[in-house]
Amino acid sequence: MRRLTWFNVTALTLGFAFLYIPIVILVIYSFNASKLVTVWAGFSTKWYFELMRNEAFLNAAWVTLKVALASSTAATVLGTMAAYVMVRGGRFFGRTLFSGMIYAPLVMPEVITGLSLLLLFIAVGLERGVFTVVLAHTTFSMCFVSIVVSSRLATFDRSIEEAALDLGCTPFDAFRSVTLPIIAPAVISGWLLAFTLSLDDLVIASFTTGPASTTLPIRIFSSIRLGVSPEINALSTILIALVTIGVITASLVSKRAIMRQRAEEQRAAAT
């Protein structure tokens, strides 16, 4: 059955074409010399240099990076804590309700999340800016961290934590020196997830941001309304390159780690 039949090849081609043709076109046109996006006028990298001189885009990129770093870190701390209590906290009154509520933002329409946060910030008189966007992103991305971390905690041998307590750790010390190092891969992937979610969020950011703190997605979206400029193609290509490099590096590193571990286990079993 494991053969490349015509059917398989066609399905594969169609699927990948569907996924990647838009991106490929975007990358190609980012090297277009013409100012008109849809007319090919020869190869050029001038839009990349234009981009470097565009203060507005550079500022927006910087704001986005700050927001993503701050919100993903905060979401990771909060999400890990929530996951720990949900998995390890035993039974307490309202546990099911709480764990359901943690995951609610997953299915909540972003418009509603954004609007409710906006109303909250107005109600408490918080001036909108970078800080409110960080708060908003932390709120919606912590449930993703919580899901990733709690699935790791659930498969983790509870007696390892008990062993730490038995050997003289306080509960906090046991968490810091045993639990955290073991769940670290899940915590890191939770952080990465929160980081990417924050990077490309448009809806919630546009509700909660202020005039001086435009994020990159908002900037791109608003300049598109004035017509697609080749600069945006260049910017998008850079983002795609960064994401691709990140994903490939992460998967190579984890693949090598798994292969090394497997080899070591085989060697241990042989002795």
Partner: protein
């Protein structure tokens, strides 16, 4: 079944002046409606290798987890060296535990695993490497000090877990099914290593197991548990030869049980009527019994002799036919069907390599045993 070396002459439980290291006083543990441990009293003495034996769900693991501090008794007290340890959290107890899954820290090396508890004790930092090396030597893992747990074999992991639990020189070491994950050959070898290490360190060991052979091999005393209660606490040989109940006799080793009524008693000697038209069985009882009491006669298969003719001087002799033969290499077990329909097992050692097989299926045979070979039980 063999006795461990410290079984001879080491019997602090018989000395009324000896203070126990651990005392359970009316300890009950309930999980909701379920009673895991039921009003339990027992003393464990310093230097003992104490085995908790029972089927799964009998409460033996709960008992151990209460000693470690992971569970609190619902009622009653647990005393360690005369002090109630109920309110003491696990990290403040001079008790360490070796977990069934070993629970090694996967991100730390073998040496770091062993040093883990020492770093959290009041041992000066400079002495820790020496102690770790000593423990590595004790379990013969010096050359594996730098490896991670997934880089060593199952048997080696078991020894790391033991070394880690012993490193802090606890007053009491708890072992939860410590050999459960090992294959049979390695398990038998490791049982003797455990006894060796227990004697070398002089630590009191409490082991939880469902494997009766393991309990008999390593323990100074065995506690047989059922439904949260201790049925019998005694040395391995007494548990085997003088069970106090049908439950213990049946749980430990192989046994023939014949139900009947006490016909007459004379000191320890008891005569039992068990079937119409059959001669009375003569056995012995540890406690005096009244005539007419319903009882079970328990006898181990290896104490029943099998012969073609009725042995002339046998106190007890019953005839039957061979129903089944189980050849196990070292021994053969004959399943003999009596005229009454009872099946009685008799064992013979195959001491000759190419012996004539004296008996075969359907042969008429006689089973015989002495008047002290079997024990009369009422519980």
């Amino acid at each position: 079944m063999q006795q461990t070396a410290n079984g001879c002459g080491f019997a602090p439980w018989q000395d009324p002046n000896e203070e126990p290291l651990i005392r359970f006083e009316g300890v009950t543990k309930k999980f909701g409606e379920f009673t895991a441990v039921d009003r339990l009293d027992v003393d464990i003495f310093k230097g003992e290798f104490f085995a908790l034996l029972g089927p799964s769900g009998c409460g033996k693991t709960t008992l151990m987890r209460m000693l470690a501090g992971f569970e609190k008794p619902t009622e009653g007290r647990i005393l360690l060296d005369g002090r109630d340890i109920g309110p003491v959290p696990p990290n403040k107890r001079a008790v360490n535990m070796m977990f069934q899954s070993y629970a090694l820290f996967p991100h730390l090396s073998v040496a770091e695993n062993i040093a883990f508890g020492l770093k959290r004790s009041d041992m000066p930092k400079t002495e820790i490497p020496g102690r770790v090396d000593e423990m590595l030597g004790l379990v013969q893992l010096r050359e594996f000090a730098g490896r991670k747990p997934h880089q060593i074999s199952g048997g080696q992991r078991q020894r790391v877990a033991l070394a880690r639990a012993l490193a802090k020189a606890p007053k009491l070491l708890l072992l939860d099914e410590p050999l459960g994950a090992l294959d049979k050959k390695l398990r038998q070898q490791t049982q003797f290593e455990l006894v060796d290490i227990q004697e070398k360190t002089g630590t009191t060991f409490v082991i939880v197991t469902h494997d009766q052979e393991e309990a008999m091999t390593v323990a100074t005393r065995v506690a047989v548990m059922d439904h949260g209660r201790l049925i019998q606490v005694d040395t391995p040989d007494r548990i085997y030869e003088m069970p106090n109940s049908v439950y213990v006799a049946d749980f430990i080793g192989d046994v023939n049980l014949i139900e009947g009524n006490v016909a007459s008693t004379e000191g320890e000697r008891v005569e039992i009527s068990w079937a119409e038209g059959q001669p009375l069985i003569v056995g012995s009882s540890a406690s005096p019994l009244a005539a007419g009491t319903r009882c079970s006669f328990a006898i181990r298969p290896e104490k029943v002799a099998i012969s073609a003719e009725r042995p002339p001087d046998a106190v007890n002799a019953i005839s039957g036919n061979i129903h089944d033969i189980a050849y196990l290499g070292n021994i053969s077990t004959y399943h003999v069907r009596l005229d009454t329909g009872h099946i009685v097992k008799a064992q013979t050692a195959n001491s000759r390599r190419i012996g004539r097989r004296d008996f075969t299926w359907e042969d008429a045979v006689w089973l015989s045993f002495t008047d002290t070979a079997g024990i009369v039980l009422t519980g």
